[in-house]
């Protein structure tokens, strides 16, 4: 996402190429979506409904959340037609 000059007319003062701000939204999460690869039918509903668009395609077989930014809202788990996603408390992953 570095050089983003969409317009031919971008002025010389443009900062469109500057790095974007980014918040560590993964840190907000209290529950994490865990995908059951066996149950997933690769329909993509979790991906289109995820507000942050972080349900990423994994080698044409299943989807998985990018945990760096997933806010843990649970929409993907709720919308999955196969119930392949379970929201699991982050506490479970603390070692």
């Amino acid at each position: 996402m570095s050089s983003n000059h969409y317009f031919k007319h971008e002025g010389p003062w443009s900062d469109a190429g500057d790095p974007l701000m980014c918040t560590d939204t993964g840190d907000w999460r209290t529950k994490r979506p865990v995908v059951d690869k066996e149950k997933c039918i690769f329909c993509g509903f979790c991906a289109i409904y995820c507000p942050i668009q972080v349900m990423e395609m994994q080698s044409d077989t299943h989807f998985e959340a990018n945990l760096d930014f997933c806010k843990g809202c649970g929409i993907c788990a709720k919308e999955c037609p196969k119930g392949a996603i379970t929201m699991i408390s982050e506490g479970e992953f603390v070692s």
Partner: protein, 324 residues
């Protein structure tokens, strides 16, 4: 095996032709409908759009902070009172300069229906060549969840609380979409996040129609924080809003209304209200008022769509002159 699986991928993905111009970590609440809508628009319309908008929940992200931004789109921040007037200036400038791009005036319901309605109305009358998108979270969310003109009957907000005197909003909501369609602008539509294919088609249609003038999209976008809803239910709330006819999906070309989704057996509106704390306190009699209101508005819409199909459209409305 992999190929067989691929065939089932939802068609919505075909509409997402462009990159997401937003940074991954932006400060919207978890489950915010606005975030999904905002990321969706440039992925469908392309990144060569210019967005203008006002102070609202969308502004902290669209405007950026200090010298840095959260996205790579062009954005012009305006006052709540002049959103559509500013978009008018931009759209006319681009047209005069021969630059082919799309101006999207993106605002909350507080701006569109209340504070900035005057100039929205003016832009519609003058048939200015841009797309106005109102994301409707039924209140002034950014300033602490105050009621707006589109807040429905009974809903609690910080200015329509529930207590011994007040029982939530005691006024009916206004129908912004219908109000705009009545101006016979080239394109008006309602949309929501449970029906993303419908939304994508309407966005693309608006992009085309803006060559002929003003386009207005009214998008129902739940706010889990302000409505007291489980963030996981954002899409389900949209779905039920459609299934109860609380938020019917339609479009209107030059004011001619056509339903884009008809619900065969509408569910009672209580199946929608039960998902949010803002309606928690409502008695059966209160729900009945809301139900009647929903049915009345739907009936009106249905009547209009039938009537308008029968009526001859005046020539002047068919091809409105270009904004001068």
């Amino acid at each position: 095996m992999a190929e067989k699986k691929q065939a089932r991928l939802t068609k919505v993905l075909d509409y997402l032709k462009h990159d997401d111009p937003f940074s991954k970590g932006v400060a919207f609440c978890p489950g915010c409908g606005l975030e999904l809508l905002l990321r969706f628009i440039p992925r469908v319309l392309g990144n060569d759009i210019v967005i203008t908008g006002t102070p609202s929940c969308s502004a902290p992200v669209l405007l950026g902070q200090n010298n840095q931004s959260w996205h790579t789109l062009s954005y012009f921040g305006t006052l709540m009172t002049g959103a559509a007037a500013n978009a008018t200036g931009l759209a006319r400038y681009y047209r005069k300069a021969g630059i082919d791009n799309t101006v999207v005036c993106f605002n909350g319901d507080g701006t569109a229906n209340d504070i900035g309605f005057g100039n929205l109305s003016g832009a519609a009358e003058r048939n200015e060549p841009f797309i106005y998108i109102c994301y409707d979270n039924e209140g002034y969310m950014n300033t602490g969840i105050q009621k707006s003109g589109t807040t429905p009957f009974g809903a609690t907000t910080t200015t329509t609380p529930y207590g011994s005197v007040h029982k939530g909003k005691n006024l009916r909501r206004m129908n912004l979409g219908l109000k705009m369609a009545m101006n016979k602008i080239p394109y008006t539509a309602t949309a929501t996040l449970s029906d993303l294919e419908d939304l994508a088609r309407k966005l693309l249609k608006a992009k085309e129609a803006k060559e002929r003038g003003f386009c207005f999209l009214h998008v129902f976008a739940p706010c889990p924080t302000g409505w007291g809803a489980d963030p996981a239910n954002t899409i389900e709330i949209c779905r039920r809003a459609v299934k109860t006819n609380y938020f019917p999906l339609w479009e209107a070309e030059n004011g001619r209304i056509r339903m884009t989704k008809t619900v065969k057996k509408p569910k009672p509106v209580s199946t929608y209200t039960e998902l949010m704390k803002k309606f928690n306190h409502m008695t059966e009699a209160d729900i009945k008022i809301l139900q009647d209101d929903v049915e009345y508005e739907y009936c009106l819409l249905g009547g209009l769509s039938v009537l308008e199909a029968e009526c001859q459209l005046p020539v002047s409305a068919k091809d409105q002159g270009e904004a001068s």
